[in-house]
């Protein structure tokens, strides 16, 4: 069943309805210490319908894809909406929608590799790392290849087809020193399939050299001094700063509930050097890591300019919340699998580049840290954020010093953003973000290096 088949059902929609046919396919390989500990493919496909009735939604899904099941799923979702509206005695007004069509296919144009070729690729990386650096305690090479293929029709006449693949390769090296084990990793890949990113393993050997140098430096490094410090967040951290520190508190569901961002709309929440945007699909004429051309409610997505020159401008929303909060729909409703309902999710969230040079930024710090990559992060209703920092360096008298061991940084976003006094000119997109809410969802994150003050964990 394809989009054309789904359109046949549009005329039967009697309520505000979305009918979605989706297939997620994930090929996952993991080579740990030379052992292929994961070699699997996970395919999940099916059909789902969501019906809106007087302020509540009914949803139903089935993995069976045929006309009869589509009709049954539509009936069940409508029953659920009517049943809940009756139980809740709800009577909210109707939502609106647009009639347009989108077709976007980002699958590779290259000849597809077989699984054995991908295994060979990982083994070649392992052989290089273990032969070149025999003192490594362990190597881990993981690749996840996710293809999300969606067909959607709505009762407003919108219809869309998209195939958005994402390929991630993670290289982790660990080293033992003085009885303690240290590790560090880098992530490669992005929008596209394996063939689009990885041609020859040799092209990654230099990256392995750099990861080794980082883990070696870390094993010989020092614990940062805990406290409130001047830091440079490298451009690789700016994306997670945008996502965790500000992004989540400006998702309209959290705003409606009462996140702290609700109180600051129209106010100065950051240094005037800060502009932050959640891009729908393009930045600077190029396709973003996680492009959305039609969201899963059938809304035409728009870039959401969340902060402009330091002032909080808007929130990311869906159809219902745009009405509740009085904004234009931004098209941020996204679902992960066919059986998931759309939630307000970020797409490609980025802080805009400035005009400073990284060298000048480092030189401007008397005693602080240059933090070069993030690990996991978390947001809060208060805008207090944290993220793990596996790599970084001391800055002493304007010069880079010793490497530091793993640490965590935190701050209250709407305080910390006001401390930003330098923003570099480059723009780095992180392509591997996986955001957890009720469902997981792949996201893009980007930005330049920024100089600011944060709390840093340490000894």
């Amino acid at each position: 069943m394809r989009l054309e088949n789904l359109k046949d059902f549009q005329e039967s929609f009697t309520e505000h309805t979305e009918l979605r046919l989706q297939r997620n396919s994930l090929v996952a390989l993991a080579l740990v210490h030379g052992n292929l500990v994961r070699n699997e493919k996970n395919t999940s496909s099916g059909i789902s319908a969501r019906v809106y009735h007087k302020g509540v939604f009914g949803f139903a899904s089935s993995p069976v894809i045929d006309d009869d099941t589509a009709r049954e799923v539509l009936r069940k979702s409508q029953d659920n909406a009517l049943r809940l509206a009756n139980l809740e005695k709800s009577n909210k007004g109707a939502l609106s929608g647009e009639n347009f069509e989108v077709v976007k296919d980002f699958s590779t144009k290259k000849k597809r590799l077989e699984r054995k070729d991908m295994i060979y690729f990982l083994k070649s990386l392992h052989q290089y790392a273990s032969k070149t650096y025999p003192n490594l305690k362990s190597t881990t090479f993981v690749t996840n290849n996710l293809d999300m293929e969606k067909n959607l029709v709505t009762s407003f006449g919108a219809s869309g087809y998209s195939l958005v693949p994402r390929t991630v390769l993670m290289i982790n090296l660990s080293l033992e020193k003085d009885g303690s084990t240290y590790d560090t990793y880098e992530v490669f890949g992005g929008l596209g399939q394996f063939e689009d990113h990885f041609d020859r393993p040799e092209a990654l050997f230099e990256e392995i050299d750099q990861i080794y140098e980082k883990v070696k430096a870390k094993s010989e490094g020092v614990y940062p001094e805990a406290g409130y410090k001047d830091v440079i967040l490298d451009s690789k951290l700016a994306g997670i700063l945008a996502h965790e520190a500000i992004g989540h508190t400006t998702e309209a569901d959290l705003v409606k509930s009462g996140s702290v961002a609700k109180d600051y709309l129209g106010e100065k929440v950051a240094s005037e050097l800060v502009t932050m945007v959640d891009f729908a699909h393009e930045y600077d004429g190029k396709v973003c890591p996680m492009p959305v051309y039609m969201d899963d409610e059938g809304t035409r997505p728009k870039d959401a300019v969340i902060i402009k020159d330091g002032v909080l401008q808007t929130f990311m929303n869906n159809k219902e919340l745009s009405l509740d909060l009085g904004f234009e729909p931004t098209g941020n409703a996204r679902a992960y699998t066919f059986s998931d309902e759309p939630l307000v999710r970020m797409r490609n969230t980025a802080i805009m580049p400035g005009k400073d040079r990284l060298d000048d930024m480092i030189a401007s710090i008397e005693d602080g840290y240059y933090l070069t990559r993030p690990s996991n992060g978390q947001a809060d209703s208060t805008s207090e954020f944290m993220f793990g920092v596996p790599n970084g360096y001391e800055i002493k008298k304007g010069k880079l010093g010793r490497a530091i061991k793993d640490t965590t940084i935190s701050g209250v976003a709407f305080d910390m953003l006001k401390t930003i006094d330098m923003v570099s000119g480059e723009m780095f997109w992180s392509n591997a973000g996986m955001c957890g809410k009720k469902q997981m969802i792949p996201v893009g994150m980007g930005g330049p290096a920024v100089k600011c003050k944060v709390n840093i964990g340490g000894r």
């Binding site: 740990v32 210490h33 052992n35 292929l36 500990v37 070699n39 699997e40 493919k41 996970n42 395919t43 099916g46 509540v56 009914g58 949803f59 139903a60 899904s61 089935s62 993995p63 659920n80 909406a81 049943r83 809940l84 139980l87 809740e88 699984r115 054995k116 295994i119 305690k137 881990t140 660990s174 084990t181 590790d183 805990a226 406290g227 409130y228 569901d253 509930s257 009462g258 702290v260 109180d263 059986s339 690990s375 809060d380 209703s381 208060t382 207090e384 944290m386 993220f387 793990g388 920092v389 061991k405 793993d406 640490t407 965590t408 935190s410 209250v412 009720k438 709390n455 964990g457 000894r459």
Partner: protein, 428 residues
């Protein structure tokens, strides 16, 4: 079950020397609260069919969510092709002991009206008793699940049960003051109890309101004692147990490599896995590798008794397959009350939620103490804000200062409060 037999026959026909199949069939009904309003009712039918083929010790696994003949046939052909092209590994194997067993739990059954009434009662009680509390999101789901495992050696296992999960995210707001969000998941066999009575929910909601007025700790950096709450311990212990599972033991990074029957943690610490616990709502009778799981010690009085390896991990490392792979954790209670633990602290904090990076392999960690409280001279003084903690996970568990008599049962674990020392606490 016919589908599994059909898969095994098809795999054998296509050349699999050994094969195993897992099937999970789930019916889910789910009520959702968003921003304090019941706004979504979902009905899902889900299948997860996992087929593994072994040829010359080479293995491939494919997972699909279909059980029709054509989808199964396509999956079999793909998994056979990929197994042929995989890497040989003597640890790729299936259990050979012919075991056949069905585990049946008496089912409670689905009652959507009762689910809705429970949610409305919960919202009503929160409205009346917890002023300024915001329910950002809550999900009450009924899961009716059947699981099946069969392999080509004649192992055949199955189970069938149902339960309710209640997941909730909340915070408090008063004027322009907002507290940190908190969240919890409670699992229960039925809806006889009020949702508010499940696990630690009442305390967590109360804490959120108290957290509207947090303070920074005056002395901005000190080494103190920390009482970790049961909800927070669930997360902390997950970091510890990673060192007993496949990844860390196979890669050699595990802190506990070659330490079975050795005292590795404080003698006050006894942790069990109880996949067939009579006290917990969740059951995990067998693993996806075809082994019946059993209740057993992980650490007994600080002595490491078992790893949590699956069959592949066991064959790969030479250790025994674990009693489970980490299901249903139960920590034995201590001798002091939670209040007595607080009284024994000169300076420290109650850590209710940890927001931090994954600890390094050597156990070093740092992160934010969320929804937490400052303790001084044996008393809780005030809720804290912008406070970071750092320390070493292994050092903490090697020097436990006290374990509470009280334990919290969230349906998946039974955990007390534990007091640790030498944690660096720093405030802005």
């Amino acid at each position: 079950m016919d589908i599994l037999k059909k898969c095994l026959e098809g795999l054998k026909e296509k050349g699999a020397e050994k094969a195993e199949v897992n099937l999970t069939s789930t019916s889910k009904e789910e009520l959702n609260i968003h921003s304090g309003e019941v706004s979504l009712l979902r009905s899902l039918e889900e299948y997860n069919l996992e087929i593994a083929a072994l040829i010359d010790q080479k293995k491939d696994t494919i997972k699909i969510n279909k059980i029709d003949d054509a989808s199964i046939q396509e999956a079999i052909e793909e998994v056979i092709e990929n197994a042929k092209n995989s890497e040989a590994d003597p640890a790729n194997d299936i259990p050979a002991e012919k075991v056949q067993k069905h585990f049946e739990e008496q089912k409670t059954g689905l009652d959507v009206e009762k689910m809705h009434q429970s949610m409305k009662d919960f919202l009503g009680e929160v409205h009346h008793n917890y002023e300024n509390l915001i329910i950002e999101e809550a999900v009450l789901e009924h899961l009716d699940t059947s699981r099946y495992y069969e392999n080509s050696s004649g192992v055949s296992l199955s189970s069938s049960d149902d339960l309710y999960n209640f997941m909730i995210i909340f915070f408090a707001k008063k004027g322009k003051k907002t507290s940190s969000f908190n969240h919890t998941v409670q699992t229960t066999k039925n809806l006889e109890k009020n949702l508010l009575e499940l696990g630690s929910l009442k305390y967590l909601l109360k804490e959120s309101i108290e957290q509207l007025d947090p303070k920074s700790i005056k002395d901005n950096k000190f080494s103190g004692e920390v009482i970790v709450t049961p909800d927070c311990l669930n997360e902390v212990i997950a970091f510890l147990l990673a060192h007993l599972a496949n990844q860390y033991l196979i890669s050699g990074v595990s802190k506990f490599k070659n330490k079975i029957d050795q005292k590795v943690l404080d003698e006050k610490f006894t942790l069990k896995t109880e996949p067939d616990s009579h006290e917990l709502a969740v059951k995990e009778y067998f693993g996806k590798d075809g082994f019946i799981q059993k209740n057993d010690y992980i650490f007994q009085n600080g002595v490491l008794k078992n790893y949590l390896l699956d069959y592949y991990g066991a064959l790969k490392t030479g250790y025994e397959r674990g009693p489970s792979t980490g299901a249903n954790l139960v920590i034995e209670p201590g001798k002091e009350s939670f209040q007595e633990l607080i009284k024994s602290i000169d300076r420290g904090i109650v850590l209710s939620r940890f927001s931090g990076g994954m600890p390094a392999p050597n156990g070093d960690f740092s992160g934010i103490a969320k929804n937490s409280y400052y303790i001084e001279a044996g008393e809780i003084k005030y809720p804290i804000k912008e406070t970071m903690i750092s320390g070493n996970l292994f050092a903490m568990f090697e020097n436990i200062r006290g374990i509470s008599q009280e334990r919290i049962n969230n349906g998946q674990s039974l955990i007390p409060y534990i007091k640790f020392e030498d944690v660096v606490i720093s405030s802005k």
